[in-house]
Symmetry: C2
């Protein structure tokens, strides 16, 4: 077992430390955030920081760094109060990853990556046509985290689109049926295989396995 | 493609909605949080909400619900300013899941699940001996999120322990080599297979694949 203490972590070169620390939280979600500004300029950006915040109301959080690539995303969603979250699946990994490049504001990541904007129902922000599980979100709040100048963005899910085959009768979603991928570190993409589903845990009862 | 609008989401029964919404963010990390209170009472709790917050300083965030099972975790880490984060791997899924049961404060989840507390270096909080990638964290701050009464807890990584074979020469970590698992929804556990690692994206350069 290798032990890194804090002084050894702090001595790592900048990108070594970024690769190392970004690997430690475990597997991350892979999502494309679709936005549009008031002039109709579209933007698309991959983020690995979307997380579940609550089911009632249905809330998702994400962390953005205002001085790095997702800044256009943040500007746009504050302007229009709307954004979409689109799962990355195994056939669009390269295009999704390419959206993290630092394009000028006037360049749509849709046009350079081959991903197609799609407008559904009354959501002003573009979805990713190729994505198989996608959501419309209404912006609710953001707060700068003084500890490291990142920003926590919170949105409320208003619409969900997913394949019929991914929806189970208990309303859990089989995201493997959408070929959704997981991310580790800065740059590693993974497919998954289900090992088990387990019943709600209680102190005096044995776990049982659920159908998946 | 199935479409749920907001009114259909709101009409789902409580646990159906919890299963549905918890599935939407994508894959989640699977970690055990180890804590101890001032009287030496140990606590262990699985959480799927740990996320990367920053590399410099090395920060991890997690979301806890103060009125549900992780409340002892929150109380303890505020008392002692210390906690550990331990990856769940494929051989300890059932024991890890069982820690989510609502045990009384006087019951250590270590003793009822067969997971073993381990004390390393000068960290007051217990690690999980069976875990293969584990970290000591110093509590930095917490903030209640008024939007739904959850709490964002932020900690700073002070020590990291991992197998030599999982550490690459560029300091990225192959968490598959630790058999770390991913979670989807409330109860589904997944192993992973690496599909690709991709180079840092730039506007005018093609992506290349990295060794993994």
């Amino acid at each position: 077992m290798h032990h890194f203490n804090r002084s050894e972590i702090d001595q790592l070169a900048r990108f070594d430390r970024a690769r190392f620390i970004n690997s430690l939280s475990g597997f991350k979600s892979a999502n494309l955030i679709g936005t549009i500004d008031e002039n109709g300029q579209e933007n698309l950006c991959i983020v690995s920081s979307v997380f579940h915040l609550g089911a009632n109301p249905p809330l998702l959080g994400m962390i953005v760094r205002p001085h790095s690539v997702p800044r256009h995303t943040l500007e746009n969603l504050l302007e229009t109060q709307s954004y979409t979250i689109n799962h990355v699946h195994s056939e669009i990994i390269e295009a999704a990853h390419q959206t993290s490049a630092n394009y000028a504001k006037g360049t749509s990541e849709f046009s350079v990556t081959g991903l197609s904007p799609q407008y559904l129902d009354d959501c002003p922000a573009p979805f990713v046509m190729q994505s198989r599980l996608k959501m419309a979100l209404q912006y609710r709040e953001h707060q700068p985290l003084a500890i490291n100048d990142t920003v926590l963005v919170i949105g409320e899910i208003t619409d969900v689109y997913l394949p019929e085959k991914a929806l189970r009768s208990d309303f859990s979603v089989n995201i493997e049926a959408c070929q959704s991928v997981a991310i580790s570190g800065l740059d590693q993409y993974h497919s998954t295989t289900t090992l088990t589903r387990l019943s709600y845990a209680k102190p005096d009862r044995d776990l049982t396995t659920l159908e998946f």
